[in-house]
Amino acid sequence: MTVSPDATVPATSRPDAGPDRDFPGKRSRKMLARFLEQKSAPTAGLFLLAIVAVAVFAPYLAPHPQDAGDLLRPSEMPSVDHWLGTDSLGRDVLSRLMFGARAALLAALVAVSIAVAVGLPLGLVLGYRGGWADRLVMRLAEGVNAMPFLLVAITLIAVLGPGLTKSMVIVGVIYAVMVLRLVRGEVLAAREELYVTGALVVGVGTTRLLWRHVLPNIAPSLIVQVTTMFATSIIVEATLSFLGLGTQPPQASWGNMLADAQASAFDHWFLALPAGFAIMITVLAFNLFGDGLRDLFSRESAGSVLNANAARPLVEGVVEREHSAGSVGGDGDPLMSVRRLSVSFPARPSSDERIDVVTEVSFDIGRRRVIALVGESGSGKSVTAMALLGLVPDPGRVTAETIGFDGRELTGANERELRAIRAREIGVIFQDPLKALNPAFTIGTQMTESMRVVEGMSKRDARIRAAELLDMVRIDRAADRLDDYPHQFSGGMAQRVMIAMALSSSPKLLVADEPTTALDVTVQSDILDLLRDLQAETGMSMLIITHDQGVVADIADDLMVMYAGELVEVGTVEKVFEEPRHPYTAGLLASVPRNRRREGTLPSIPGTVPALDELGPGCRFGARCPFVVDRCREPVDLVGLGDGAVRCVRAPERLALGDADIWSGR
């Protein structure tokens, strides 16, 4: 299967889209800086340090002994002598709280150390080796994990007898089982990673593979888990001590302090507060710290399209220059007319600085025309298409002077208007049909849902219509297949289902986002044939987003080429393929391997696509262009030329752009 070079994730979250950048500073220093930016996690960390200090120096810090009290002053409220009052035996609560911190942290340390020392190596080896030992241990581990934790702990304590250290050793052993499961799972996943295969191929041995390659990669999630394990250990210690199975009186523990508090609940309610808050805040601090680490290690994720909105109209009233657009091949009354469409994303998560991934794109889609939008990954082609439908995921912001569709204005449209357009006027199909279909519902349910909600059809009618549609996209036994789930379809068949769904309301425009990229070569041709036939039958317009010039040659009438967020060339496919006017288009066409006898090395465009946050004011292709001149440093407009348009200052010179020698000599 082919992995497409262009996912629909916005370019800002694609770290590989950028070129060779000089990253200032080391990775660890950057991580630290990001960690400190979080505020809550570093605060929690400081607090934990303070608790550790109190626990270690409790004998010197505590104003009173933990186990001897003034029996004449029991159950007092806070005072100058006793900041947190006294318990029923007249002991100072603050001092006991400090010594309790000792018990809590020591207990957590014992449990977690055992868990890691036992669970980590076992998990690594079992996960990597597999086999019967792994199966046996995992069965046991599942058994232990399925049982109520406390019940298992208490039963084991029954064997060894109560006491803080013994109890926490037992807790540590049970935690070891959890760590083992976790590590094994991570190793199992890592084993499928290509870098492990790569290491095996160069002859890395098992020990080195586990310690040098696998462990550093799974360490982040382990560290997070261990942090939360500290938090739960503290609660477990308190619980066991509360039950009389952990820390034994008169030694102080937050758990047995609460047991004392319960005993005197009716005459000294205040006693319930200090120990409880101590537990809560400490656990909270561990959890916040763990959350901070998790956010640090996890990759930033895209937002949901659920909260996507329509394009906002541009506010500045005056249009300074005419934005020429490729109004090609139409009859002067385009179906869709887009002017100055821009899409921006935050430069970094939760940052106010925004980066344009699409910059002022203007074009027309003619009626009954098939228009292709071509570009490499990060060029902004998919985002442009999604912006037309108001389907750009959450942090993305879309603006446009106008998005006219069949006499209506889509900028500033509200949710309901937009929904109506999506439901009846514009159909969409996506790159990976098996991801675009919901795995938990039959395709019948997914196909009929919009017919029933939008058109108000009855369930029976909707099913009949769905079967007709499947038949139309040439799926055999259409009526039977309605009850199948998406995973029962092959990629090509699933894409047919997607097409049927998109066409269910006879839309005027079909947007196809890399419709054949995830498919096999022979299946790709079938799908393109189907799309071509359906377009001819229905007379709809089609916008095809692709990176493949072959797809353009096969199906499109018109062509728009995008580079680094801008349109660089627009025209009919025939004209552009015959005589490209922009150096980028020419280079791209030259570097595609043709199926013909070899003529020396393959021409290629030097360099890489610039990162969107490092663009200068001039031509965005300038750094890679063999024809670059001084004028290219100034902003370049998209200028109408013939019946197309080009964004190149040298376009009128009619240079020999397609000369293979120019693209071969670097």
Binding site: V3, A199, V202, E376, F489, D520, V521, P593, T601, L602
Partner: protein, 292 residues
């Protein structure tokens, strides 16, 4: 013209997977992913292995790399044989056969820096002192168009094309006789694809390494390979000189595959389409309706 004695010889290679059983007491059967495949590669030659998903082309590559248990057949590279892999592949074999995979980012350990990634094979298989090793790593980086200032960077700091260059440098470190290239350019952008293909050709010209180029894109394979083998459902259905296979394919499947390639040439593409429709009608290729 007589060909030199082959460097790699694959004979009657079969790889079978146990089929899923509905009940544990059912008799176990197996599906053949690779079915009696034989081919060879001469020193310095590139063989293209073409097929669609599920054709078994990647499994052949994995078997040659010793990553896949072999059910039957033999593989010989130079003077080292591997039969019934699954147990350890001899170290001498590892030095001879290396690989570059499709996803460059995934195949480079994200926690390691370039110097360690490219230097690791040297550290494992040679006893070069550290300084000589670094010199050699820089040499390798320069061969694939990277520089010594890249040494202390992590893979994520590079673009996809550059990551693939690092992977190539790593594969070259041990001066192997053969590199298995499993879809090495199919996840790259078009403008980067041709760069990487050119790097591969330059490296071959310089070192005389042989390639097994596994890919689904016939046009790319034709450009880089001397000979092409077409795989379909676990078998090699056609093998021959690259231009011959691409101009006069004999097996109906190769014909269909070839006619399915989209061409940038507009007139040619229209002709191809018509030809393909004829073929498809006669080939009656049963498209699997359910994913295996």
């Amino acid at each position: 013209m007589t060909r030199r004695p082959p460097l790699l010889e694959v004979q009657d290679l079969s790889v079978r997977y146990p089929a899923a059983r509905r009940f544990p007491w059912w008799k176990s059967r197996s599906n053949a992913a690779v079915d009696h495949v034989s081919f060879d590669i001469a020193p310095g030659e590139t063989l293209g292995l073409v097929g669609e998903s599920g054709s078994g082309k990647s499994t052949v590559g994995r078997a040659i790399l010793g990553l896949q248990r072999i059910s039957a057949g033999t593989i010989r590279c130079d003077d080292v044989h591997i039969t019934d892999a699954g147990r350890k592949v001899p170290r001498s074999y590892r030095r001879r056969v290396q690989a570059v995979f499709q996803d460059p980012y995934g195949s480079l350990n994200p926690t390691m820096i370039v110097a360690d990634l490219v230097g690791e094979p040297l550290a494992l298989h040679t006893d070069l002192p550290r300084s000589t090793r670094t010199e050699r790593v820089v040499e390798l980086l320069e061969m694939v168009g990277l520089r010594s200032r890249h040494l202390s960077r992590h893979p994520y700091q590079f673009s996809g094309g550059q990551q693939q260059r690092i992977a190539i440098a790593r594969a070259l470190a041990l001066e192997p006789a053969l590199i298995i290239l499993d879809e090495p350019v199919s996840s790259l952008d078009v403008s980067i694809q041709s760069q990487v293909i050119n790097v591969l050709e330059q490296v071959q010209a310089k070192t005389g390494v042989s390639y097994l180029f596994i890919a689904h894109d016939l046009a790319v394979v034709r450009h880089i390979s001397a000979r092409i083998a077409v795989m379909y459902r676990g078998r090699i259905v056609e093998e021959g000189e690259a231009d011959r296979v691409c101009e006069k394919p004999e097996h109906p499947y190769s014909q269909l595959l070839l006619s399915s390639i989209l061409n940038v040439d507009l007139r040619d593409q229209a002709q191809r389409r018509a030809y393909r429709h004829e073929l498809a009608a006669s080939f009656r290729r049963q498209e699997p309706t359910v994913d295996q």
